[in-house]
Amino acid sequence: MSNESRSRKVLAIVAVLIAGGALTFLAMGGIGENLVYYWSPSELKEAGEGARGATVRLGGLVAPGSIERGDDGLALRFAVTDGTETVAVTASTVPPAMFREGIGVVLEGELAGDGTFHTERLMVKHDNEYRAPEEEDGRSMEDLVKSLQLENG
């Protein structure tokens, strides 16, 4: 066996070990705890004053019966819930067509002094359910909260 082909085999082993180590670190290293894509209403309330004044993402379900549209068609008020805590939201943006009660949303915005969350970027978080029009959605609020995958880091 030539020196060159032996050193190439060593490089193969080293490269695979580095790749495996990097992947293990990313999977187990608790990166998720420092890098949270959005906060749930409970986490936002828990952060309290610490959340004020900074741009954060709030994720949750649009609480049933909470959607109010202003007369001018622009002002939009609703509440976001994770089944435990609820945060009142004012949005100054046109929501996507999918926006409705009980759907997941991720909102980018700020928590105001009066405890309402103001957003200008409203994103609908669709879950992995795909159904035909005639199918009933028999899922309870708990099932819908589960679909938010809040237990993920």
Binding site: R8, A12, V106, M123
Partner: protein, 229 residues
Amino acid sequence: MIERLKWHHFVGLLGLAIVVAGTWIGLFVAPAERHMGDVMRIMYVHVPSAWSALLCFTFVFVAAVASLWTSRKRWDAYMTGGIEVGCVLTALLLVQGSIWARATWGVWWDWDVRLTTSLVMLLLFCGVLALRSFIEEANRRATWSAIAAIVAFVDVPLVYFCVRWWRSLHQIQSSPETVNSAMVLPLRLNAVAFLLIAIWMIAIRARIELARLQAEDAPEPEPLAIEER
């Protein structure tokens, strides 16, 4: 004619036939989605693009290790074919996803973990191709592009698992339980078809690359002797 048709052409033609059937069923037979309507039908190409791109890059990882282990040009050529086809599929994936996102989420893009890792996957493997084109000497090029491909592969399992490990805007993987049964068939057909077409493309591309690598090694042809009178 028949002896000219190599096995990979049969694979490719079968893939093309299935993608026509799968797409037709997806567009005209399967129902529209309850809330998303017709735009959800983009799933029948989006999900197969994702699956086949991830499988392409998994094959690239295997080919890169085999290339380093055996020092055979064939594996270097397969690796290159796999990266190129995987990059095309990932680019398609990002464009389809962006269109679907605008219609359902309301935004073209967000720095969500699934979207970010997918974009990083495209950039990393484009980087491997760029590195490849910078190295002149064949052995060094095979060695370093294989090492780069193995390191780039780290991102591939992240693309798949990130939505299960971390919070994201992107939904987690569907299963037959979360998808209407009439939608499962076109999804499966197109997944198989995309995979067959990807295999076809990789086989064609690897043959071209292997011929190029062998031509590099061939001695310079003797200049034609010009008879002097």
